[in-house]
């Protein structure tokens, strides 16, 4: 049921990566995503994969969690793989029967695309596994701040995100409780056709929304009472500061970038 969902899947820890500034991690993740697209061959991919795996190992996060993120997009990966395999017709023929013709070029292209997707997901997974949602939004706000000069509501967006992140587990909890309470009154959420199931959600959704509005009201009042008035002139308790380890991380990512570009140049695969 709703149980066992960890939002943002943050895995608490105290490793080098955990203690990096969230801005560094955000930028590094963007750089990793970029380098995945820059790489034109499997040699580059192998380097990126080695980099991601080694980093993941150093964080103490179980590798199982790293690959969990692949599950929801497994279908897309397989679909892309098959499409490329069937419709890319270059190089020598590997296999041919009926209207299906599989070529070496097709196989290469299909594997390339699948590897690219997997690397993209796993690399961004590394960010969400090692960064708490709150420090992630802090980092985002800080990175978006220059844009607020041209009227972009950086602070407001970050505040909305952190409130949403803060309340998602609360709402899930509440949904779980209400569901149990209605089940205790004989409600049935599990069987029936689609219309019956949609109707069965009413006893869950009405109290959930009523509760969400009540909470929103209370929160707004509490923020008001503590003189919250948006981002202008607001200081923060935990200032984000770049340190030596952020420099090390930046250099490591830059080195990876350089290696991948060299691999593109000199390695035929």
């Amino acid at each position: 049921m709703i149980k066992n969902v960890t939002i943002g899947q943050y895995f608490p820890g105290d490793s080098f990566v955990h203690r990096l500034d969230p801005r560094t991690k955000l930028l590094a993740t963007i750089a990793l995503i970029a380098v995945v697209f820059v790489s034109t061959g499997f040699a580059g991919f192998a380097m990126i994969a080695a980099f991601v795996l080694l980093t993941a190992l150093s964080t103490g996060v179980h590798l199982k969690f790293l690959f969990k993120g692949l599950k929801p997009i497994m279908f897309i990966i397989i679909f892309t793989f098959i499409l490329n395999l069937l419709f890319q017709q270059t190089g020598g023929v590997l296999l041919q029967f009926w209207i299906i013709k599989i070529t070496t070029g097709g196989l290469k292209m299909a594997s390339f695309m699948a590897a690219r997707l997997i690397l993209l997901v796993v690399a961004s997974q590394l960010l969400t596994l090692t960064t708490s949602p709150i420090s992630l939004t802090d980092g985002l706000e800080s990175l978006m701040r220059p844009a607020s000069k041209i009227g972009f509501p950086a602070h407001e967006i970050a505040m909305m995100m952190s409130i949403a992140l803060r309340f998602i587990p609360t709402l899930m909890d509440e949904a779980d409780k209400i569901m149990k309470a209605q089940k205790a009154r004989g409600a049935n959420f599990e069987t029936g056709n689609i219309i019956q199931r949609a109707r069965a959600m009413i006893p869950l959704l009405v109290p959930l929304f009523v509760g969400a509005f009540r909470r929103a009201d209370e929160l707004a009042l509490a923020m008001d009472a503590r003189c919250y008035r948006g981002g202008a002139g607001r200081t923060r308790m935990n200032q984000l500061k770049y340190g030596a380890r952020d420099l090390i991380a930046a250099l490591a990512v830059a080195a990876l970038f350089a290696l991948v570009i060299l691999a593109n140049r000199f390695c035929p695969f």
């Binding site: 895995f11 309470a181 009154r185």
Partner: protein, 286 residues
């Protein structure tokens, strides 16, 4: 319909970094017609425990039997179990959703597939049991006061006509008058022949109303027995974040000072009676 629980253990989110053992090897039994109190500090596992009473959670490891039916078995008809064991959650007023009080109370019996006349009869009866004025039947439950909403929610469970009624902190968040009314209401329901299991963290409340208590601490049954038997462990109860009723404390101090007050006196009326008996008699041996 007795409830029998053996070696029940519950772990939240096993295998994750947030793993929490909420219940540990719980054994307990509840007999017909009893008024049971389950007490414990916040987080001691009370709410988790009661969600096993009507099969909202399936025991593993451990067994839960209600009236001889194994709730852990896949073949058990859970709707039948939920008809027998009514569960009123903490702050049940937050589960109301219908347009009118009447419709909300009818939700349970409707799910049981009862005929309309029977549903109608049960709604009227349940409203009467919880002391709701019939003129409120057509009102929106969202327009009622907190205490009234809670009565509607309890009526909604009573309309299932359960033989066992389990209430999680039914008096939480009510003012002293509302609290007293709520507890008296539960006593009335008990007297109408329903077995009651009341979860609470107030020793005063359970001491006043319950026949038998189970004291939970860190997911285990720390003490059990009649209130007098439990209140004997005054200091030990303090250590697990609970307090004995004020009257039991007074009785103990008088007893320690040499007055003749039996160990099982903890109710206001009893203790007052013994104090009156003692007046003029003086201390033992004095």
């Amino acid at each position: 319909m007795p409830i029998e629980i053996k070696h029940l253990t519950h772990v939240y989110m096993p295998g994750s970094p947030f793993e929490a053992r909420a219940l540990n090897d719980i054994c307990l039994d509840i007999r017909d017609g009893e008024f049971i109190g389950i007490i414990g500090h916040t987080g001691s596992g009370k709410s988790t425990l009661i969600s096993y009473f009507n099969g909202l959670e399936r025991a593993k490891p451990g067994t839960v039997f209600v009236g001889g039916v194994d709730l852990g078995s896949k073949d058990t008809d859970l709707i039948a179990v939920r008809r027998t064991v009514g569960l009123v959650f903490q702050y049940p007023e937050y589960q109301l959703f219908e347009e009118t009080v009447e419709k909300d109370i009818a939700f349970g019996p409707t799910n049981l597939g009862l005929p309309p006349e029977e549903i109608e009869r049960r709604v009227v009866h349940a409203m009467q049991l919880v002391g709701l004025d019939p003129s409120r039947a057509k009102k929106s439950p969202f327009d009622l006061s907190g205490g009234q909403k809670r009565r509607v929610a309890i009526a909604g469970v009573l309309a299932m006509d359960p033989q066992i009624l389990v209430l999680d902190e039914p008096a939480a968040g009510l003012d002293p008058a509302g609290r007293h009314e709520m507890l008296e209401l539960i006593r009335d329901i008990h007297e109408s022949g329903v077995t009651i299991v009341m979860v609470s963290h107030s020793m005063d409340d359970v001491g006043k109303y319950c026949d038998r208590l189970f004291v939970l601490s860190h997911g285990e049954v720390a003490y059990q027995g009649a209130p007098a038997e439990v209140f004997v462990h005054g200091e030990a109860l303090n250590a697990i974040g609970l307090d004995v009723p004020e009257c039991a404390k007074l009785a103990k101090r008088l007893r320690d000072a040499g007055f003749d007050i039996p160990m099982d006196a903890y109710r206001l009326e009893d203790v007052a009676g013994y104090i009156i008996d003692n007046i003029g008699k003086g201390r033992r041996g004095a």
